[in-house]
């Protein structure tokens, strides 16, 4: 195909895509206008039904908890597949320290930010049912702590605190814990993922029953999954850098 035909093909398909996009946009509700009833219903009932103040968390870990279980396993499966594929490399399975040692300002930035990031990640996970945040967000923040430690020192320093086996065990614990919390109500004849724990006081950190528990499990799973992902990638790059 010559350049002229390619340009023509692009112009035709580009115009079609733009037309479809504009047509779809025209059908959306006006900016800032919310037509559906579900958000309004949740806003009206969730506070008294679940005793949590961050309603998105009530939706994803309780009302639609089954969907979130699938979502969590998407991450779990992706990281598992990544580890299996990258395991075929010839080099060592863990970062060896061949790559690292950044300039002093970068190392300082990583060192200064790592403590704040760790505390903030834990805060975001633990207060998921009260303020914006939750297991997914806090988990990724905690995992970015690993990147900061890598910038400040090198990858092995983090792995000395959290060995790879521990990360794998934590990931399994987080993924399995969610299912166990879902299965527990079946013992007393209630539905999968029924919120059976005491709801606690509105606005308290222990409020929300199983929401707080699932939130914590998801936080552990996401943090471990992303930390594993980063470990695998750094080991992969080191192996390539070491090659002549």
């Amino acid at each position: 195909m010559n350049a002229r035909a390619r340009t023509l093909l692009f112009l035709a398909s580009g115009a079609l895509a733009a037309a479809l996009l504009l047509w779809g946009t025209a059908g959306l509700p006006g900016f800032g206008r919310y037509p559906g009833p579900y958000g309004d219903i949740i806003n009206a009932v969730a506070l008294s039904e679940r005793h949590v103040t961050n309603l998105p968390t009530a939706v994803i870990f309780d009302y639609r908890g089954f969907d979130t279980l699938g979502e969590e396993y998407i991450l779990f499966t992706s990281v598992t597949i990544l580890s299996v594929i990258l395991r075929k490399r010839e080099g060592p399975p863990e970062p060896s320290g061949a790559w690292g040692g950044f300039s002093e300002p970068i190392a300082w930035a990583g060192w200064l930010l790592s403590g704040v990031t760790g505390v903030f990640g834990l805060y975001t996970i633990l207060h998921g049912q009260l303020t914006p945040g939750g297991g997914f967000h806090g988990g990724v923040i905690l995992a970015s702590l690993f990147l900061l430690i890598f910038l400040a020192y090198e990858a092995r320093v983090f792995l000395r605190i959290f060995p790879k086996t521990a990360l794998e065990a934590l990931e399994a614990l987080g993924a399995g814990g969610y299912v166990l919390v879902g299965l527990a109500p079946l013992l007393s004849g209630r539905g999968f993922l029924t919120n059976v724990l005491p709801l606690g006081q509105l606005g308290d950190i222990r409020a929300g029953g199983t929401i707080a528990l699932i939130n914590a499990f998801v936080g552990v799973e996401v943090a471990a999954a992303f930390a594993l992902l980063v470990t695998e990638f750094i080991a992969e790059i080191e192996q390539k850098e070491a090659r002549p």
């Binding site: 914006p132 939750g134 997914f136 967000h137 990724v140 970015s144 990147l147 990638f233």
Partner: protein, 79 residues
């Protein structure tokens, strides 16, 4: 609020153009991180702090990192 939102939308449009116009993939990953930061501010401006959190950590930390790893892995590949 309308002024803030319009301003942010203009910045986002400029940022998206900047990401596309950056030719070097490694620089593009960094530009993408800053673009993610703009989107974070946008989600804050439309009262979606939960989404802003996700966008901040995934869009400004994890995605640029994964892109940089991919760039480093494919560049200078022995032929």
């Amino acid at each position: 609020m309308i002024v803030l939102q319009s301003l942010l939308l203009a910045f986002i449009a400029a940022g998206a153009a900047a990401v596309v116009l950056t030719r070097d993939p490694a620089r593009q990953a960094v530009a993408m991180g800053f673009y993610g930061l703009l989107l974070t501010l946008w989600f804050l401006a439309v009262n979606a702090p939960d989404v802003a959190y996700s966008q901040l950590v995934v869009g400004s930390a994890i995605v640029p990192f994964v892109l940089l790893v991919a760039v480093s892995r494919t560049r200078k590949q022995p032929k």
